[in-house]
């Protein structure tokens, strides 16, 4: 379908742009200094503090909903039953 091809082209372009970004961005000055990251280091700011639990509940969602993927980690699925 044309829309799918367009999406794939956009995704490919995004990946290419990302690669260039990675190669060129290592020298950028961080705008949040290391000594300002104590809040980020707090365990309550973890996007996924308990992987065994979040993976399980994501699986519960995945099994009962038509949507899948982009849940913050990986995703995928056998796509079967």
């Amino acid at each position: 379908m044309p829309t799918i091809r367009i999406r794939r082209a956009v995704t490919s372009a995004a990946f290419a742009a990302l690669g260039c970004c990675v190669l060129s961005a290592c020298s950028v000055e961080p705008w949040v200094k290391p000594y300002e990251r104590d809040h980020m280091a707090d365990k309550i700011m973890s996007l996924d503090p308990n992987p065994v639990s979040s993976a399980y509940i994501d699986h519960v969602h995945d099994a009962r909903e038509g949507s899948r993927g982009a849940t913050g980690g990986a995703g995928g699925g056998c796509g079967c039953n």
Partner: protein, 375 residues
């Protein structure tokens, strides 16, 4: 069987892929319980991660689903059944400077389905470690069988492409972006599920026949997650996911959460709202047998919405450590789901005129109890 079982371990493996640092040495023992819509699913999940040589980390997981099903599909077209699904996986992480490479293998076995999935991922920290970028790929080779039919055997090939970006925007705001495309090829429907069609020769006005799905399926999903540190040491989170696929399903997921620590306790609350449109070849009642090339009556392909609330509590233990354990926690999480279907009907009342039965809905309760230990 349910779609997406391999995703569980893919998630576990991929979530370890934080660049610049290896996953913590940690062991988790979880007991899970799902009860809703005539289905109960229980079992354990054990996950252990261990670093060695300061550059490598291995993880292993053992997961079991013990299923007892008398779902609306089962009681209207088949007989209640019990089955067990067992998954085993092993993952490997390698850290070099700000790069992390991860590899994994997942094996899932049940009496009518086998799956083996290989995962690969790479992550890197950039912008002075404010940004983590990750790329991932998975390949799954699955075999579908049907109980009571030794002649039926088919395959599914799954491929997943992932891109993730985690960004510290300010000293209090963390943002996560995730994109994923998944393609499947092979036998993609449930080998037992049936559609119904109008049949004047049937005493109840309709009959059943097996579903027929396309043999390809491609989906795209994108999600945005925000987490903000509040002035009184608490965190608020928000997330949105957009989904669409080549079967015509469009879905949206919205979440809001709050985390509040008090001494040794940490409390979590979350609300979640999900809605989707139906697939192109879904119908609750087809006008006649083999009405079109592809036919489905899977309620996960219907138009529906679900709302859920989640409450969790964590209690830190062993703060001073005990033998080789540095610390631990005891955790409980409860989720309550409410599913409302807009074009999937409850066929338990066979006296109703076909197509006028009440719309189906059900609630589900999910409990998780788990203990975590860091060493």
């Amino acid at each position: 069987m349910k779609r997406g079982i391999v995703a569980l371990l893919l998630l576990m493996l991929a979530r370890s892929g934080v660049a610049g640092v290896l996953p913590e040495d940690r062991a988790d023992v979880l007991l899970h319980s799902y009860d809703g819509g005539g289905v109960t699913i229980q079992g354990p999940s054990l996950l252990v991660r261990k670093q060695f040589a300061q550059k490598f980390s291995v993880s292993a997981n053992y997961y079991v689903d013990k299923v007892s099903s008398a779902s609306i599909d089962v009681i209207t077209t088949a007989s209640p059944y019990k089955e067990q699904r067992t998954q085993k996986s092993i993952g490997f992480d390698y850290l070099h400077d700000r790069w992390t490479l991860n590899l994994g293998v997942i094996s899932s076995v049940e009496n009518d389905y086998s799956a083996k999935t290989y995962t690969f991922g790479v992550s890197q920290d950039v912008f002075g470690d404010l940004t983590t970028i990750s790329l991932g790929y998975s390949l799954g080779n699955n075999e579908v069988r049907r109980r009571g039919d030794a002649t039926f055997r088919d395959t599914v090939k799954m491929q997943s492409y992932r891109l993730g970006v985690s960004q510290i925007l300010t000293k209090n705001l963390l943002v996560g972006l995730s994109f994923e495309t998944i393609t499947d090829e092979g036998f993609l429907n449930n080998p037992y599920r049936q559609v119904r069609y109008l049949d004047s020769g049937s005493p109840i006005g309709y009959s059943y026949e097996r579903e027929i799905y396309p043999r390809t399926h491609t989906s795209d999903a994108a999600s945005l997650r925000l987490r903000y540190y509040l002035p009184w040491r608490a965190a608020v989170s928000a997330a949105y996911r957009d989904y669409h696929d080549t079967w015509g399903v469009k879905g949206g997921t919205f979440e809001l959460g709050y985390t509040h620590p008090v001494d040794r306790w940490t409390f979590d609350g979350k609300i979640r709202s999900y809605s989707q449109t139906k697939g192109d070849f879904y119908s609750d009642l087809f006008p006649r047998s083999r009405y079109q090339n592809f036919i489905a009556r899977d309620k996960e392909l219907s138009t529906f919405s679900s709302q859920s609330i989640s409450l969790g509590a964590t209690y830190d233990i062993m703060k001073g450590g005990w033998k080789f354990i540095e610390k631990g926690s005891l955790n409980i999480v409860f989720d309550h789901f409410m599913f409302d279907y807009q074009d999937f009907r409850d066929l338990r009342n066979v006296a109703a005129t076909p197509g006028t039965e009440p719309l189906y809905n059900f609630d589900a309760d999910v409990f998780e109890f788990f203990a975590s230990f860091w060493f």
